[in-house]
């Protein structure tokens, strides 16, 4: 694997609960290479979500450094970090997190809207909407373009969320139990979709999962326990890919 897209060094994260400080991560280091698919496993409460939110620049570490594409992310300005989240990172959450007032297409183009001024959006709009519609069609949602999230099933919602995460072609995808809220058959399908897209685009991805079979499809599995990395192993998939 070439140089890392994101690397975390000596990450400590403590939460202030009342007047006590609760340390959740105790000095975690993790590199995610370009094009690498990293699975994160571990017991509930081990700190998986906290870690990937730090990798995704959503949460500031109490101590330690996050280098995103070689630059220290928390030394950058708020606006620069927002821009990185907008253009360089795609998020897929367990609970989809679509905006309920927007249609499927509007949810998908939202990242493009956030990054653009009024004029730029107006100019690019027809093109962007066509792209969003094509992406949704490819995910089997051609008949659901104008539906609101409330009118979609869980699997459909997650597919919309995946289309949104991929819309601006970010080099890094962060997915926190993307199938955790779906039945296994639907979850399987949605995950296939996500992994196929990742594969064809050659994206880096950090995937939190409790599913051993799914972990086996990753290049590398990081196991967390009590806020530390307990194991970091390459899988057979990785060896197959390397060959």
């Amino acid at each position: 694997m070439s140089e890392a897209i994101v690397s975390a060094r000596g990450i400590v994260k403590a939460f202030q609960v009342g007047d006590r400080s609760l340390e959740v991560l105790h000095g975690v280091a993790l590199d995610v290479g370009r094009g690498e698919l990293v699975g994160v496993m571990g017991a509930s409460g081990a700190g998986k979500s906290t870690l990937i939110q730090i990798l995704g620049l959503l949460e500031e570490p109490t101590a330690g450094e996050v280098l995103f594409e070689g630059r220290s992310a928390w030394k950058a300005t708020v606006a620069e970090r927002a821009r990185l989240r907008n253009e360089r990172i795609g998020f897929v959450f367990q609970f989809y997190h679509l905006l309920p007032e927007l249609t499927a297409v509007e949810n998908v183009v939202l990242p493009a809207m956030i990054g653009r001024s009024f004029g730029a959006w107006r100019a690019a709009r027809p093109d962007l909407v066509a792209r969003a519609e094509a992406a949704l069609a490819r995910f089997g949602l051609a008949e659901r373009l104008k539906h609101r999230p409330a009118q979609l099933s869980g699997g459909e919602r997650q597919r919309v969320a995946i289309a949104r995460a991929l819309f601006l072609d970010p080099p890094l995808i962060i997915a926190d139990e993307p199938t955790g809220n779906l039945d296994s058959a639907t979850g399987e399908k949605v995950l296939d979709l996500l992994l196929t897209e990742r594969e064809s685009r050659g994206l880096s991805m950090v995937l939190v999962t409790h599913d051993e079979r799914l972990a086996a499809r990753c290049h590398r599995v990081v196991t967390m326990a009590d806020g530390r990395i307990a194991g970091d192993a390459r899988t057979t998939t990785a060896r197959a890919a390397a060959r």
Partner: protein, 456 residues
Amino acid sequence: MYRTFLAWRYLAARRTNVIGIVGIMVGVGALILILSIMTGFLLETKRSLRGTLSDLILEPIHVPDREGRTIPYDPEPALAVVRADPRVAAACAQLTWYGILGQSGRDAALANMRMADAQSGKLSGVKLVGIDVADEFAATNFRAALESTPRFAGSRVADLDDPFAPPPGYAPEGRMLPTCIVGEQLASAWNLRRGSEIEIVTGVPDPLTGDFPVNNRRYVVVGTFRSGENEMDLEKIYFERAELADFLSSERRFSQILVRLHDYARDGKAVRDELSAKLHAAGLVKFADGREVRTWEDFRRSLLGAIENERVLMAIMLSLVVVVAAFTIFAILSMMVTEKRRDIGILSALGATPGGVTSLFLWIAFLDALIGAVLGAVLGVLGALHIDRIERWLSSVLGVQIFNRNVYLFDHIPAVVNPLWVAVIVLGAFACTLLFAAIPAWRAGRLDPLEALRYE
């Protein structure tokens, strides 16, 4: 870009915004409507307050000094000085005094009843005004007051050019009575018409001897006048100045000189001050400080001030409506921020900055204010322009007369829309709303986005 887009979406999706918009609309509309009507009333009242008041009023103080000398009792020297000023268009002298109005002969019983009634009895205290007809017509609006159609009872004088001529067909049994013209409301109260006979009692205390001789004289009414000024139409009786002076048998031949200027707005105060100085130099007014020469506004200062005050007070009170409306926006937006925590988290994950989130909520408030203030301004202005028709319609629908045209002596509800006020009100509503909205909007930007993303 997403800010305007989402602001519209949230606005459309959240019915509660309608409450805020309607609140702002009502506040702005009511403020514009009521201020316009107040302004209209102020102008109209100013106009009618003026009544037959002239531009300048000279009231010499005729107090004798120790040797019994006073400034001249005759108006001619002062009139000459006044008329010499090229900015003066016309001037006239008036003699005014007080009297008690009554009736004798076959009307005595009725008059007695009227005067005994505490309510209408006050109508017998009258102001007697002696005028020189030609001078009066040139300097004041009295001719117009004689010409205007009586609104209540009363009748116009027969000959406008010689108003004090005995009424046509008047053939008294005994001596020919001197004539007078009464205000139309007084005529209405006393049931007077052309040819009615009245009796007036008056007295003039003598400053030198200390005597207070009382006179009475009978007059015949030759007509009524309507100035539009309540006070004047209710308590004034006009005579020829020579006749009144004779009745009073006082040395004083005039009480005041009324001056009409070519351009009051431009020259009023300057002419007042110069005339005062000139008249004092000529020994025609007693004091050098100018208290005897005043503009009509000096005369009505306290009344005009009171109305202006009332308008300002009203504006302040109604501004509270706008503040309350802006506060509803605050409440609605606060609710929305709480409700939309998850969305804020999502937007943040998708690359929105805290500033962007804050401005999204400010946009919502801005749109609320925009729609509310524009609708309010349109409704307020339209309402003000058509208030008369609206009032008539409402009165006919409700069956209650809302605006009593007899009380106000204007036959329409006056409303003047001042574009500057409208602009100030609209901008004020905007500023107020955005100020209130800034608090929840700022809070939205500072929310921890992750907090909301952890759970469904």
